[in-house]
């Protein structure tokens, strides 16, 4: 594995993280005793997916300091956001890549770009939420019309793996949280998240019903294997389907709501008496995930996207064409800049957009409404959690934004969602 992280070695990274975490845990200590790391972020205006995205990414990677030396001869793993892919998340007449999934042209161009930089192998990863585990990830991608064969030829070795289970390995990889842990201090993942030299989170720039926005940090929820965290132990004598496992529980019960603990032998919650409210838990959990599997490169696809929610099933969601790409080495910095391009304050707090949420009591567990019966709920700000954990800064005044200025690409998600933006 390659420890290098540009000008910041992995050792530096961990040192800084632990210093930040340590500072935060000292009672009365000021959060700015140790500045969380900053890394440049590149922003681009890209109006359509048929643009020369390879050239675009090369330019953006140059703008953030280059990645060639980090991927040359290495295994690059890309976790792509397919929203779990239990369905394709389609709106009538639109591909999922235009709404809730990352677009195949983005993934294809990234694969080709990494190959150009000399990557030995590119792995494309996502955990698809299906009862029948074992469906090749390639078939899931065909369901949105991806040209899988073309992507396979874009680099010397291109592999696809559904990481919802152990996959090609015999066991899961245990990864400890290196930043300040909030809820879990370790996780078990598919081997591909461990067995790589350079890890890329390829997210979609979307709103999220329960978390306000979903960007490169939120994308990492999908690295948790449903088959491990979602499976209820079978009663004695029960039949396991010959065509796969059956998962009557979902990992949301473990992670979002904390209703059950992970199975025996898997790292447990540090404090099972902590809040069970998902708006509190999930931003912290995502930060833990980013601490366990640090993101080496964040790529955010906002060329086209769904707005008003993370998927097509949320009432009021719309298709939009923000025309934005954001790339950065630090996931907190990158997500913070992306939030700004979406018209949001990346330092926004509870009950401020986009963290002012609406939850219909009919659709949500009663214990997830605080106070009970109240429609208006909140989520904590994930990038601020990341900053507090020492992963990176969410302060725009400290982030070196390169490429196109934020004000020139800003596409106000909230205004478009509400129909207030000029058409």
């Amino acid at each position: 594995m390659d420890d290098a992280r540009g000008s910041l070695s992995r050792r530096d990274w961990f040192t800084l993280s632990s210093l930040a975490a340590g500072a935060l845990t000292i009672k009365g200590a000021k959060a700015d005793v140790v500045q969380p790391p900053m890394s440049p972020v590149s922003v681009a205006k890209v109006v359509a997916y048929d643009a020369d995205l390879v050239a675009q990414f090369q330019l953006m990677f140059d703008q953030i300091g280059g990645i060639g030396q980090l991927v040359r001869g290495k295994t690059v793993a890309m976790k792509v956001n397919l929203s779990g892919a239990s369905g394709t998340g389609r709106q009538v007449g639109l591909s999922a890549g235009q709404t809730s999934w990352v677009h195949p042209n983005i993934v294809g161009a990234l694969t080709a770009t990494f190959a150009k930089f000399g990557a030995k192998r590119v792995r494309i990863l996502e955990s698809t939420f299906r009862k029948r585990y074992g469906t090749p990830l390639e078939d899931t991608l065909l369901n949105d019309g991806w040209d899988v064969k073309a992507i396979k030829t874009a680099a010397p070795i291109v592999e696809f793996e559904d990481t919802n289970g152990p996959g090609q390995a015999k066991q899961y990889s245990l990864l400890k949280v290196k930043s300040r842990p909030y809820i879990f201090d370790a996780f078990c993942f598919n081997h591909s998240y461990d067995d790589c030299d350079f890890f890329v989170s390829v997210g979609k720039m979307k709103n999220h019903e329960e978390l306000g926005v979903t960007l490169s940090m939120k994308n990492l929820f999908g690295i948790t294997p449903e088959l491990l965290y979602g499976l209820r132990p079978k009663p004695d004598g029960a039949v396991v389907s010959p065509i796969g496992n059956f998962s009557p529980w979902t990992r949301e019960r473990v992670f979002h709501y904390g209703q059950v603990q992970p199975p025996e032998g898997v790292p447990q919650e540090m404090d099972p008496t902590s809040s069970r409210y998902e708006g509190w838990r999930m931003p912290r959990l995502l930060t833990d995930l980013c601490g366990a599997r640090p993101i080496d490169l964040s790529v955010l696809d906002g060329v086209e996207a769904i707005i008003g929610g993370e998927g097509t099933g949320m009432p009021g969601t719309k298709h939009g064409k923000p025309g934005i790409l954001v790339v950065g080495r630090n996931c907190v910095c990158t997500d913070a800049v992306a939030m700004a391009t979406m018209g949001y304050n990346p330092r926004a707090g509870r009950h401020e957009a986009p963290f002012r949420l609406y939850k219909n009591p009919k659709d949500h567990p009663a214990d997830q409404l605080i106070p009970p019966g109240e429609y208006h709920q909140y989520a904590d700000n994930t990038v601020m959690m990341g900053e507090a954990a020492g992963i990176g800064t969410a302060d725009l005044t400290k982030i070196d934004v390169r490429g196109v200025p934020i004000k020139d690409v800003m596409w106000d998600y909230e205004a478009h969602w509400k129909g207030q933006a000029p058409v």
């Binding site: 929203s83 779990g84 892919a85 239990s86 369905g87 394709t88 998340g89 389609r90 709106q91 009538v92 007449g93 639109l94 591909s95 809730s100 939420f129 299906r130 009862k131 029948r132 078939d139 065909l142 369901n143 949105d144 019309g145 991806w146 040209d147 029960a238 039949v239 389907s241 010959p242 065509i243 796969g244 059956f246 009557p248 929610g309 993370e310 998927g311 097509t312 099933g313 949320m314 009432p315 009021g316 969601t317 219909n360 659709d363």
Partner: protein, 504 residues
């Protein structure tokens, strides 16, 4: 029963003597609602002036010119609405003249009868007008159809509002109420769903398919009147009925009718393009002789299983129907899975058990099968070489069953696997003992779908795509794993049919 001229000899006699003027065999009728005349103006009392004016003049002979270069050869004209006798008589006189003009062009004319009509008077008037038959539209008294059949020698076609009620009918032509074919987003329907929700599709493909128990074909007319309708709606209506071998009863919305009447160029263009879709369907009439494909059998009886048939089709799981009273080991030959939602008799249970135990098949059943789960929605258990899936709910929720099918049945058991078709529905059929396979797809979205992948059991050397818009094109077919053929459709505007053939 839907078609009341049940005696073949009487039919022949009727056609040769009373209806010597009639258009060809009703199996060749391509129908269109062609309402007009003073009765229709009265029926459409709230229509705006331009519509009323058009309806009033619709039975001028010139409206028949619109049918040139279209396959439409059977008109459903307004005939009786139960209005005062003088008004009805005036209408029927107008229709009589119009029908005469139509017959000279080889076009059959059927009178549409609405509730409130007296049997004797309408029978007499239809005979006098030398109509080719009557169509009953609406809810009539229970004995109305039989009474009419006694008084009127021609064909009587009730439009069934409940498909299940006429599924056992042996009538050679059936008309059923359908739905407007359309794809919609759940969010637009006020339905909250998961992040990966897919569009909701209203379709009649399953409806037409539900009358097909084998290779035998008979015309199924689908009645639904989109108003207003776009050009896209019209071509979808045509294709949606035709994919499984049915025919849409063409129906003009008010705008198109008015604009056609005034020979508006855009309207005439839309009419021509719809005609091209109708012609495509009739040009490929041989496809109707292909037998439905499905490794999944669904046992149906007189109970209402329509929602299963609808939703399983929408999940792209091809199936064939098995009449419950014909269930036997022989009738299950060729199937790899069977869904039996009704409570099975002991004899039926034995047949199904043998199917699983000895044949290795999958049986999907309700809780009456036994060993239903208490918590989970369904439970699977081995059964000899096969297995049984027992649902907790009685009856099992059709939406859940349909969704689960893709998980319960491996791809090669489903037989046809489709990728990138969330706004489309597929229908597969075979001929020549499976050497020729026809996979039809209808895109319900207003935009083309790119890169659809199909996989089908078996190795086929040739794959050709037929569409109404373009000449047939050969597709690249590759052999996928496990002796399966994979085909890529680069682009599908609306209706496409892929013909797979084993020959070189």
């Amino acid at each position: 029963m839907a078609l009341t001229l049940r005696n073949p000899a009487a039919w022949v006699l009727f056609c040769v003597t009373s209806l010597g003027w009639a258009a060809p065999d009703p199996t060749h009728w391509v129908p269109a609602r062609w309402e007009g005349g003073p009765l229709e103006v009265a029926r459409r009392g709230k229509a705006d002036d331009r519509v009323r004016e058009t309806l009033a003049k619709w039975y001028e002979p010139s409206s028949l010119d619109l049918l040139e270069n279209t396959p439409i050869n059977c008109l459903l004209v307004t005939f009786s609405i139960g209005a005062p006798s003088a008004v009805e008589a005036l209408q029927q006189q107008v229709v009589k003249e119009y029908a005469r003009s139509a017959r000279k062009r080889g076009i059959a004319v059927l009178g549409v009868v609405y509730p409130g009509t007296a049997v004797s008077s309408v029978a007499m008037a239809a005979t006098d007008a030398q109509l080719d038959g009557l169509v009953l539209d609406g809810e009539f008294p229970a004995d109305f159809t039989a009474d009419l059949a006694r008084h009127y020698p021609g064909i009587v076609i009730p439009i069934a509002h409940d498909a299940a009620s006429v599924r056992a009918s042996s009538a050679p032509l059936l008309a059923v109420q359908g739905v407007r074919p359309i794809a919609r987003d759940l969010a637009d329907m006020g339905i909250r769903a998961g992040a990966s929700a897919e569009p909701w599709i209203d379709s009649n493909i399953w409806l037409v398919r539900s009358f097909r128990f084998g290779a035998d074909w008979r015309p199924i007319w689908v009645d639904q009147e989109p108003n207003p309708a776009s050009e896209g709606d019209y071509i979808r209506c045509v294709a949606d009925a035709a994919v499984a071998g049915g025919r849409w009863i063409v129906a003009l919305d008010d705008d198109l009718r008015v604009n056609l009447f005034h020979r508006n160029a855009d309207a005439l263009g839309a009419w021509r393009r719809m005609g091209a879709y109708l012609k495509f369907a009739e040009d490929h009439a041989e496809w109707r002789q292909f037998a439905p494909f499905g490794n999944l059998g669904i046992i149906i009886d007189n109970g209402d299983l329509d929602e299963y048939l609808n939703l399983i089709a929408r999940r792209q799981v091809p199936y064939r129907l098995i009449r419950r009273n014909e269930l036997s080991a022989a009738s299950l030959a060729g199937f790899r899975a069977v869904a039996a939602f009704a409570v099975p008799t002991e004899a039926e249970r034995k047949i199904l058990r043998d199917f699983a135990e000895k044949g290795g098949g999958v049986v999907v059943a309700g809780p009456s099968w036994g060993d239903a789960p208490k918590d989970d929605p369904y439970a699977e258990a081995p059964l000899g070489k096969g297995r049984v899936v027992v649902y907790k709910e009685e009856p099992p929720d059709p939406e859940a069953v349909a969704k689960d099918m893709q998980d319960l049945l491996p791809p090669e058991v489903i037989g046809l696997n489709t990728f990138n078709v969330p706004s489309a529905i597929t229908y597969a059929s075979t001929s020549d003992g499976g050497k020729r396979v026809l996979i039809q797809l209808l895109n319900y979205a207003g935009r083309p779908i790119e890169r659809i992948t199909l996989r089908f059991n078996g190795v086929f050397k040739q794959a050709r795509l037929y569409t109404p818009e373009n000449a047939p094109v050969d597709l690249v077919s590759t052999e996928a794993q496990k002796g399966r053929t994979e085909v890529l459709i680069p682009n599908l505007a609306a209706w496409g049919a892929v013909l797979l053939e084993q020959r070189n």
